[in-house]
């Protein structure tokens, strides 16, 4: 695990080789390859049911791939549980917001620090000095993160009481609180209105610059993808059908066929 600075700079943040996932007779993802580097902001698109979220679930460790391998900063993730993959530096958000709704906004961030708590059950019951110190640090860092995202005024609110767009922002903030090298955004613009979407575009770009994180996103709103991503991959029925810059992908006949059907062309 102990890697030197130069090593981790050289190794791609995410490397997927020949990834295949079968569910019974269905091949959800077949022979998928990608290599993402440190400052990439890359996109993954495709029609409904193309296997995009499956790929994200594979990367975050919810499924074990049928074939192929996934390397996060050079470290294979095979056999790792999702919480271990997260500790390696992969954070993600979900299509439908998955915040803990009975916990305050601040606690949502605090609980996400489990991977580096540095104390266990007995410390928490004994309220040892070490425990107190860690709790104070974590609470402070969580509050700082909220401030960076301009969410500090909601710290004691329940997430359910916040506007939808703010909940999205909070979910992204929570994902970033684990200091990831790779941030997976699964349809961040889903359910947002057009002004929220403009806000989101600004947010993602700002995160990309500020947090020095590689972002890989799934999105159906093409304007978001065109605006943000430098590279886009298109998949359909688990197969990669096109890749390249947004402009190249937009005019690719295979992509049009996948989205609109054969007759149109």
């Amino acid at each position: 695990m102990a890697m030197t600075q130069t090593d981790s700079d050289k190794a791609p943040v995410l490397e997927i080789r020949n990834l295949t996932q079968r569910f019974g007779g269905l091949t959800a993802v077949s022979d998928f390859n990608v290599s993402l580097r440190k400052n990439d902001l890359s996109g993954l698109i495709g029609p409904n049911g193309a296997g995009k979220t499956t790929i994200f679930n594979l990367v975050s460790g919810f499924y074990q791939p049928s074939e192929g391998e996934i390397l996060v900063a050079g470290c294979p993730t095979a056999g790792l549980k999702p919480h271990k993959v997260t500790a390696l530096g992969v954070a993600r958000t979900f299509q439908n917001i998955r915040l803990w709704n009975d916990m305050t906004v601040l606690d949502n961030i605090r609980v996400a620090q489990h991977y580096r708590l540095g104390y266990g059950f007995f410390h928490s019951v004994a309220r040892s000095k070490h425990y107190m110190q860690r709790e104070t640090e974590i609470a402070r860092e969580a509050a700082e993160l909220l401030e960076v995202f301009d969410l500090q005024r909601y710290a004691d609110e329940l997430p359910g009481n916040l506007p939808y767009g703010t909940q999205r922002k909070l979910e992204i903030a929570r994902a970033l609180s684990v200091h990831p090298q790779l941030l997976l955004l699964d349809e961040p613009a889903a359910g947002l209105n057009s002004s929220d979407i403009q806000e989101l575009i600004r947010l993602v770009r700002w995160i990309h610059n500020k947090f020095d994180v590689c972002i890989w996103m799934i999105e159906h709103h093409m304007d978001v993808m065109m605006e943000l991503c430098t590279q886009i991959k298109v998949i359909d029925f688990g197969q990669t059908i096109a890749e390249g810059t947004p402009d190249k992908v937009r005019n690719d006949p295979a992509v049009m066929t996948a989205y609109l059907g054969d007759d149109v062309i």
Partner: protein, 338 residues
């Protein structure tokens, strides 16, 4: 200052008062035993609340773990410190019982915590109704196992714990049982409170609210589940051990699913995910049972009926996910319980 130590002060006074009154025999034996059962019920309901309230699973086999604790601490105590027809002469000098008693109860708790693995391990892959069925099964497994071990009395039960207590009283004439019940009750609630209010323990609520999000946000859900189930069943075991020594007799029949249901009622009466609710409802429920004693078997018609009415008009229980300090924020100025 006051805020910081008021809880300590109140508890010390209360504990001292109970000890004094028991020592001077100002309290009748009946009142005293009701108070002790209150303590045991507090332990049971608050520990079950950890699983049912905070973690959102539905455990209905709590009495099974209580049974493990009761048997282990009783057998160990009698084997080591009392003359018994099964075990023969005491293994150690009975005068050590006075020091070893809390240890006996704790060992019972540890054994029950290990029995808790019976539920904890399946919980990795199962949840909700299916896990509830596993907890019922665990309850039955424990009861049937003990019923079928003839040496320790099988379904006839096991006794001799009073001799351990009396050898403690021979050394120092103090009301030992009330003292220990009080200490363990306070310790149990304290441990639970500290666990669930730590960032580590909030992982339990995270699992309850969204397990997928918990796992992806780096919460080791299997570890938290294991600790939570083991803590809950371990505390039930401590409650069971105390219960056995209060009565001086245990039999598997007192730890059936009916007893588990009784604990469930206390949890739901008090409010899910509220420790103060569990404590209050355990006290209330114990008193209620005693008040209705003249009704005889009819009380098992009246109490469930009250539960039905309660579920209709206040389904969240007395406290409903809130603690005392949330309902009366001004109280927070006077105490801190952490």
């Amino acid at each position: 200052m006051l805020q910081r130590y008021s809880v300590h002060l109140i508890l010390l006074t209360l504990g001292g008062l109970i000890t004094y009154m028991a020592y001077e025999e100002l309290l009748g034996l009946y009142t005293l035993s009701v108070m002790m059962f209150m303590g045991v019920n507090i332990i049971l309901s608050s520990s079950l609340n950890l699983v049912n309230g905070y973690m959102g699973e539905f455990s209905c086999g709590h009495a099974g773990f209580m049974c493990v604790g009761a048997y282990v601490s009783s057998l160990l105590g009698v084997w080591l410190f009392a003359k018994d027809k099964v075990f023969g002469a005491p293994l150690l000098d009975p005068e050590y019982a006075i020091y070893a008693f809390p240890l006996l109860i704790l060992i019972g708790g540890v054994a029950a915590a290990l029995a808790g693995l019976l539920v904890a391990v399946p919980s990795y892959k199962t949840r909700g109704d299916y896990l509830a069925i596993i907890t019922i099964a665990a309850n039955y497994i424990i009861i049937s196992t003990i019923e079928n071990i003839g040496v320790i009395g099988g379904s006839r039960g096991f006794m001799g714990m009073k001799r351990v207590i009396s050898s403690m009283e021979d050394i120092a004439e103090l009301p030992w049982m009330p003292i220990w019940v009080f200490i363990f009750t306070v310790a149990c609630v304290w441990v639970l409170r500290r666990y669930v209010s730590s960032t580590f323990g909030k992982g339990v609520s995270a699992i309850c609210q969204d397990e997928v999000a918990a796992e992806i946000m780096s919460v080791n859900t299997n570890k938290i589940k294991t600790i939570t189930f083991m803590l809950s069943s371990g505390l039930a075991g401590i409650g069971g051990g105390l219960f056995a020594y209060i009565i001086g007799y245990v039999n598997p029949g007192s730890f059936t699913i009916l007893k588990s249901t009784e604990v469930l009622v206390m949890v739901y009466l008090g409010g899910m995910g509220s420790l103060s609710g569990s404590v209050m409802s355990a006290m209330l429920f114990t008193v209620l049972l005693e008040v209705m004693r003249p009704l005889g078997i009819l009380k098992w018609v009246v109490i469930p009926l009250m539960l039905v009415i309660m579920m209709q008009f206040r389904p969240e229980g007395i406290m409903g996910r809130r603690e005392l300090g949330d309902i009366f924020p001004r109280l927070k100025r006077f105490y801190r319980f952490k």
